[in-house]
């Protein structure tokens, strides 16, 4: 009798699980619980430390290569890292090799620079989308302006105050690539390794384990992974944002998955051995 009752658990309509998951993810959005995010991973800490130690005025090239499909994970990372760069008074240049990211870049720079009184052209510059990333990365090594002679607004890039002293990678303090594609691999292989430029990454959680070898060898100086990485970076700069607010939902969803795995395994053991 007990076994038959427990056996019904495995015949449950999976749509009930979808509904339960939706409730678990949605409720913290309406009413945040405030679960803490106490652990800061080593790779996020390294990414933060590397940017934090750059002298003021250094030029940081952000390659923001993500589109709306990966926005929930990568947009908070981009916002947090750009904020950090502005906090440290670093000069910021933005490039992209994903056409769908142009609108998202606009979203970041509509709000963040104003919070730090940063001016377009003086403190930061956004360059237009370019196709064929590898060719562009390779050519930028010899002459940055051979590729980007104008910024997104059509201004002569050479004359912008933010670009003073910048000719190629040698003049840059850091490259930050935030992407849901293999663009970070390109930056490491074609720029970081070849021209000895430090590279930081921000990637979706799925890709995170694959970058372990690059971190171990120092080919990547640090890595921010997924929404959890974004939350960690936000807490390091002391400005909670979308990453931190998502932690409630993620924690509860993971607890639900753990509970389902444990329950189903327990029931299976009971059915089999009792």
């Amino acid at each position: 009798m007990l076994k038959e009752t427990l056996g019904k658990f495995f015949k449950i309509d999976r749509r009930w699980i979808f509904l339960l998951l939706a409730v678990v993810l949605f409720v913290p959005i309406i009413k945040p619980i405030g679960l803490p995010n106490k652990t800061i991973s080593r790779d996020t800490r390294h990414a933060f430390d590397y940017m934090d130690k750059l002298p003021a005025g250094s030029f940081v090239l952000f390659s923001l290569d993500y589109d709306p499909a990966t926005r929930p994970e990568l947009h908070p990372q981009a916002v947090a890292m750009v904020r950090h760069a502005f906090q440290k008074n670093l000069r910021v240049g933005v490039v992209t090799y994903i056409a769908g990211s142009t609108g998202l870049i606009q979203q970041v720079f509509e709000k963040v620079p104003a919070q730090y009184n940063k001016v377009n052209g003086t403190d930061y510059v956004i360059f237009p989308y370019m196709a064929n990333a590898v060719a562009v990365m390779t050519q930028m090594a010899s002459d940055f302006y051979g590729i980007y002679d104008k910024d997104q607004d059509g201004r002569d890039a050479r004359t912008l105050p933010v670009m003073r002293g910048i000719r190629n990678y040698k003049n840059m303090g850091l490259i930050v690539c935030i992407t849901g594609t293999s663009m970070l691999d390109y930056w490491v292989a074609y720029v970081g390794d070849k021209f000895k430029v430090p590279v930081l990454g921000g990637v979706v959680a799925i890709s995170q384990p694959g970058y372990g070898p690059y971190l171990q060898t120092g080919q990547l100086k640090g890595l921010v992974g997924g929404m959890k990485g974004a939350a960690e970076y936000e807490s390091l700069i002391g400005q909670p944002g979308k990453g931190a607010s998502g932690i409630d939902s993620l924690n509860l969803a993971h607890l639900l998955v753990l509970a389902l795995i444990l329950t189903s395994n327990l029931i299976l053991l009971i059915i089999k051995y009792l």
Binding site: R15, F18, L21, A22, L25, F26, I29, I30, A69, T70, R71, P72, E73, A99, G100, P128, Y129, A131, V134, A135, T138, V188, A189, Y190, D193, K194, V204, A205, I206, Q208, P209, G210, P213, Q216, T217, G218, Q219, G225, G226, M227, K228, K242, G246, S249, L250, A253, H254, V257
Partner: protein, 242 residues
Amino acid sequence: MSETWMIAGAWVAAGLTICLFSFLYKDNPFFKIAEHLYLGAGMGWWFQVYLYNIWKPKVWEPLMAHDWMVLVPAVLGLSLVTQFVPKISWISRYGFTFLMGYGAGLAVPAGLSTDFINQIGGTIRPLSMMASMTSWAVFNSLLVAFGVICVLFYFFFSVEHKGHFKKVSNIGIYFLMIYFGAAFGNTVMARFSLLYGRFDDLYAFAASKYLYATQFILAGMIIYFAVHGFLNRGKKEAEAAQ
């Protein structure tokens, strides 16, 4: 952007999200509409990207400035299109030859250096610095080196996997399984993050300034499924009776 367009955008975004999520309940015409719209809009989006971000600045504008050199890559690129005409499809070989040579020239040295030599160095180097390392770092380095060797054994197929060779390659499988487990755990977290992102947007679109887009569309969808289920109930009973 005017307020009207913001509201319209919110209704479209919330509507398409809910239409696509409705498939989790069951297949329905709203899901099909959203799916086809996505494909069509995607094609349109890419067409304008190629036209305005590549063809216009990289081909048309240089030509208008009498930069005739741009004709060389443009013609090589166009040669790929001859694939669609069997009689002259041989011309496409020139374009492909260029792409192959250029791609291989770029990728092979970088790949060898970044993913091969540097990784071998990264595995071996810590073993030569053990005297200055903590015991935990020594253990980590040995574990990494041991894991690399075992996994390489697993992927070495020129010797039959039996005896000691099989034992080592079996340990390699465990290392691979640990990696797959970590990757799968991260995949689950990534999918939840994406779902959270959509829910966060749906919550934003539920505000009064968007005229309660989420609530109205969700209610409409529930009513549709209820009515559809009610109307088809008779049919199902008839089918069951037969």
